[in-house]
């Protein structure tokens, strides 16, 4: 089944679980997607395996970053019917606060949707959306 078909059926049912299940790495992170009207939220449920610094403890920067990249990819699949997965061109992350041992949320803003490239801003937060733990900026090459 092609991603466009999976995302079409997910859009019809508003259950995005099958889309997440189709990507092994997203399944590994146990990601969830929650869509309310025009609001897209990607959720990374806390798991002990996501810890990078067991002393604090704090989430691994690579776990937070990988989660945000997934959020951007799923956001694009939600926004548009692409026949293939968007490919990350580059990814910039500023880590603003310690990622604590709790669930993390990501919201995505399409800064610019071009014909070939989409520029996204991805904000990851835990306690409140106005206290982001990380801010990501990335370019995705849209499906060829």
């Amino acid at each position: 089944m092609k991603f466009a078909d999976i995302s079409s059926s997910c859009r019809a049912s508003n259950d995005w679980g099958p889309l997440v299940q189709s990507v092994p790495y997203a399944r590994f992170l146990n990601l969830r997607i929650d869509i309310k009207g025009e609001e897209f939220t990607c959720i990374l449920p806390f798991d002990q395996k996501l810890i990078g610094n067991p002393v604090l403890p704090a989430l691994h920067g690579g776990a937070t970053g990988g989660f945000m990249e997934c959020a951007g990819m799923f956001y694009l699949l939600w926004q548009m019917d692409t026949p293939t997965l968007p490919k990350t061109i580059d990814f910039n992350i500023d880590f603003l606060r310690t990622g604590l041992a709790r669930d993390t949320y990501a919201n995505v803003v399409m800064v610019k949707q071009g014909r070939r490239v989409a520029n996204l801003r991805i904000e990851a937060w835990q306690s409140s959306p106005d206290k982001p733990i990380a801010l990501g900026h990335c370019n995705f090459m849209l499906g060829a």
Binding site: V23, Y25, K49, G66, F91, I93
Partner: protein
């Protein structure tokens, strides 16, 4: 000059230390080789880390974690001591997809340390760092608190 740990000592420390990262272990990151100017970690190919089931290419997030960890590794080697630190920022350019079924190496060098910050750069590749899958730069900040393990304790 500060004594530098050998690969075996580092590998042992990496796997047994109470400071070892569960996420690194979960991804199966292993020390591969170490020189003062190039510290390399390895991640084996695994189905659970695939980002695109059609092409079976590893997800970018795996490369992010590999390089983030290699950066931490290179700072540790540069300073010959373990300090608490946090990634301040990270930039990754994806040059080409990783080849399915092949392990990926993440090499890094810490090229500047100040009182508060460490500056690092590196790349992910299969055989040669001259043919990278991704290139990256990052800045880490030492978080307040004492050195976890001093130079003397490490080499003892």
């Amino acid at each position: 000059m500060a004594p530098t740990m050998g690969l075996e000592e580092f590998a042992q420390f990496w796997e047994t230390s109470e400071y070892a990262s569960p996420y690194n272990r979960e991804l199966g990151l292993q020390p591969h080789s170490v020189r003062p100017d190039w510290c390399v970690l390895k991640v084996e190919y695994a189905h659970k880390l695939v980002g695109d089931p059609n092409t079976r290419v590893l997800h970018g997030g795996v490369i992010t974690a590999l390089l983030d960890a290699a950066f931490g590794f290179s700072i540790f080697v540069k300073m010959s001591q373990l300090r608490l630190m946090a990634t301040l920022d990270l930039r990754i350019d994806y040059l080409k997809p990783a080849t399915p079924d092949k392990a990926v190496l993440g090499g890094a060098v810490c090229y500047k340390v100040t009182a508060d910050l460490a500056f690092v750069r590196g790349c992910a590749y299969h055989e040669s760092a001259d043919d990278p899958i991704a290139t990256a730069v990052g800045i880490f900040m030492f978080t307040d608190g004492p050195t976890l393990i001093s130079n003397e304790e490490l080499v003892r």
